[in-house]
Symmetry: D4
Subunit: 170 residues, 8 copies
């Protein structure tokens, strides 16, 4: 079951390619499009209206500022839409976050952290895994790798050698 | 030249009727619609696409939370769109404000203060007045009334009688 | 496929019952639990570890303040977790929102608007509908009802009678 | 019909020249002035009082911090005033935004996004286009160019080659 | 030496009368005016230009939202201007605070806490006391009263009787 | 080992009595004082300088707004100081929180949630329990009661009766 | 009449030297001290208690984060205290601003913009000028120089040459 | 009595090593671990459950974003937990701060300033010093060094030479 990855502007790609990489690593096909809710509303609407027929299991939508792409996509389809708030230069992405997550009753967007396109892809994989046991296994393997990574990183955080004085810091 | 006043939900009417009242007082015809960007996206798009043909001089759009109605209307028309951030229960309307004002390059929304539907109507009147001298005269009269009101209100702010001690407050 | 609805405290029920009502209306079985990440961490962990075996298609988790329940549940399972930020008395729920949505890479939580438990349930239904065409049909029907409701509400937003002067407001 | 572009300080020019460039591209004459509400209040007042006589169709005013220039200009004229919140070093422009958009009843400022001088110019063009069909045509052409640009940018967002493993990212 | 107390709207009087009461208790003459930077800019400018000639030792200015009155008054005079951010319904007064305190280089406004009109009056008294030893004595007396009040209030905060169990709270 | 509970104003008692009740329930002696960093700085300093001699195991300090009491008490003693941000009328307590938690290097304040005086008392008990095993046992008992309470509350969150339609909500 | 310029840490000097430069240019003597409310509370208290005897006309105090220096200085003296919120690395200075401006009833601090040490010095000069006509004249001269500077800067903001197409920007 | 220093990710070490250095300088043994509440929940739980048996006097926990490590550690132990909000790229650490400090009733976390790992270590030392007089003496010495440092730094803040004109700055 394929997943769509859409974004409001080419510049969002720097954030959104993380999503595509993760989907690819999980063996999930990804359709990638630049679709602006504001500059190409008709094309965006057409894309969203056809999402069910194309068989998407989820749509990942990244947008920044007055970020309307995830919510407007959700308005045209019942395929789960996952919103990625793109960081913004002046307000840090707080504008993107509120514009995506604060959807009114009836039309939800599954929002992830500011700039966290990879988590959007993991969430998409979790959604597909609800009816795909082999994908669930892959997610378990991924979790296992995360666990191992954390444990290994412990070697990197070494306290100063015994007897240190801490010098100027203390 | 008529003005459209649209809102995302019936509950926004408590805020938005101020706009219609002002337009009415200025003799400007107002078309009022409930149009939800999220729940009735097709009807919203159709409305916005026809805005120029209907001869609207401006569109006033109120919405709250992830407020997409003003920006999406602007995406479908070059008629000036004025956005009114509707106050929200939990975040005070900061979500509505950022969702409306932080539009990306290419598609502006003329945003007014949180809950200030009357100012949206005044702005619409100012836009029509650019090519309608009699409306400009009415706006001058309105400004004059504002001035008079402020001056009159001065009588209401009386310092305590001379010789007061200020008691517990000081 | 059942859905779990969990919350950190009994007081969250005032918000969370909206989720259970929607699931019920869609014919989706809901398991409801009060599980505190902080006060009953073992029970919460046990619940989350067993979520896949119980066959949940999604877990809806509501919590307020330093809201750790959604993220900690997600830490123990690959079942999609949907987080509902419960409004808070002093900070409006901004603390709940950031504590839920800003998850680090690897463990996503699908976050909805502050207090929007119903949207969490709709999202859960959309997730189940990915592999359940009859549920998708029900979601289409629900969307249709939303559309009709908005259109009907238009009668309630009547401009003042023609010839009105707008009186003191203008 | 000319448009005025004013700003509170020479340093705002780095942001505001975008507005002048767009107006120029649309064939709209622009008068550019540095006018500080705080340091040159008399000159600012005189400018604003004469705005109608000079025939401006709109005034674009940029200011940062306790940004009073747009609101004070609006206090002296009924020409539509468009406010551009200039980004600030420490608070990101949130101070500029609130100082411009939160105008009290009676005197609106049409506020655009933080740093979005170009959108202010587009809004000015939309206001002039209300009574200038040839300008509306130019705006339609501009919209068309935006659309084309977005569509072309899609080539730049290519998923990794099929069969990729996503390596360390997953 | 008299002090002026000005405010942008009659509704600000509910907050601002605290200032007048304190000045009265200190025996400082207060001139009270409603002057709107936006609705009566000419009258505001004239007032501020004459402030030095009227011999004001300080001007206390309260305003809310896009609060321009304190900063614009300061633009027209070198008499110290003390700004009182009036609380606002939707944003709590954060908009008023930033609009008053974030003045650009050259024109300061001495800002006090949101809604703290009494502190503005105390600050005005401190400014006059720089060259008025008898007023300084009064301020010392006032401080002494504050001290006594705090000490007396200690009786009101009694721990529960010994042997209490804390019941349901613990 | 006693604990001190201090607050900047009598009005803080409404929040702070929760701390005294918990300490009492744990059998910890509490000294309660109203001490204002701003209105009684000498008395506050004297109190803090003597805290070690009085044998306090911790000092719980509540204050609101520009909340200086916890940090200034910490400046005069090495007894652990626990800060309780008192909610404020206009800014919700965000001002209190930042004024207490953002202490510079060298002088920490152990900050708890806005309005959470009870948690301050629990933290004080945890600090005393480091060298008091019988108090640790009481804390374990308290945790056990919390656990039981959460489990019992589950009965209160009952889904609607099977077969319900969810009516208007869905 | 001298003015004191104090700061909580040597690193604040990068911001605070602007204040000393302005005072020097106005011929006002400045006493400069590093005084930490938290690390040297006794020395800070002693300094503040002696401020009236030393004849200071104002005290300018800069501090960052949980910025207690201005408020605590004000607690020990009735000399007007002007607070300068020092920008902070992570929160931009919003913490400093709220910690300084939100003073409780009874003890005001005259707060200026984040990082605006020069405005603090101008405010100090305005306070001294209340009883020093020659200083007021200097302030008028300074205002005149500000005016001239703004007017001159207008030459720097030149629109693009007539006939420009605006190219890629439009 | 040893102290544990834990963090959610290896990248937090850049902030957290300050804590270990201070503990080392005070002669306090530190156990350092990377433990992710989200990626290694079982290991985190096991660590926290054993904290009392290992005899830790305090646990310092650093985490960023939806920072659950401090609160979840506190959920499993009655050893005092000190939370360090790690600065975040997009929201400055405000998300980390609220996720750590806003703990619900029953389970406190002693929160310090964003990025202030050293203050967490000082707080841990203060907690141990409650029952360790020799450590209290070391803390007094450290305070004395802070005092001396501040006093010495005064030489570095020299006003410009007498007679300076302040040039362009004034």
């Amino acid at each position: 079951m394929p997943v769509a990855v859409i974004m409001g502007s080419q510049s969002d790609w720097a954030v959104m390619h993380d999503a595509v990489e993760f989907l690819d690593a999980m063996g999930i096909a990804a359709d990638v499009h630049v679709l602006s809710a504001h500059r190409t509303p008709e094309r965006m609407a057409e894309f969203a209206r056809n999402a069910e027929d194309r068989g998407y299991g989820a749509i990942i939508a990244g947008a920044g500022g007055a970020a309307h792409l995830p919510g407007m996509t959700a308005a045209y389809t019942t395929v789960p839409v996952i919103g990625v708030p793109i960081p913004t230069k002046h307000l840090g992405g707080m504008d993107s976050l509120l514009s995506i997550v604060q959807m009114p009753g009836g039309i939800p967007v599954a929002t992830v952290a500011v700039g966290q396109a990879k988590n959007a892809a993991i969430l998409a994989a979790e959604i597909l895994a609800v009816s795909d046991p082999s994908l669930r296994t892959k997610l378990h393997d991924y979790r296992e790798r995360l666990r191992t990574e954390v444990q290994r990183s412990e070697e990197a955080v070494q306290p100063p050698a015994a007897g240190g004085t801490g010098g100027s810091n203390a």
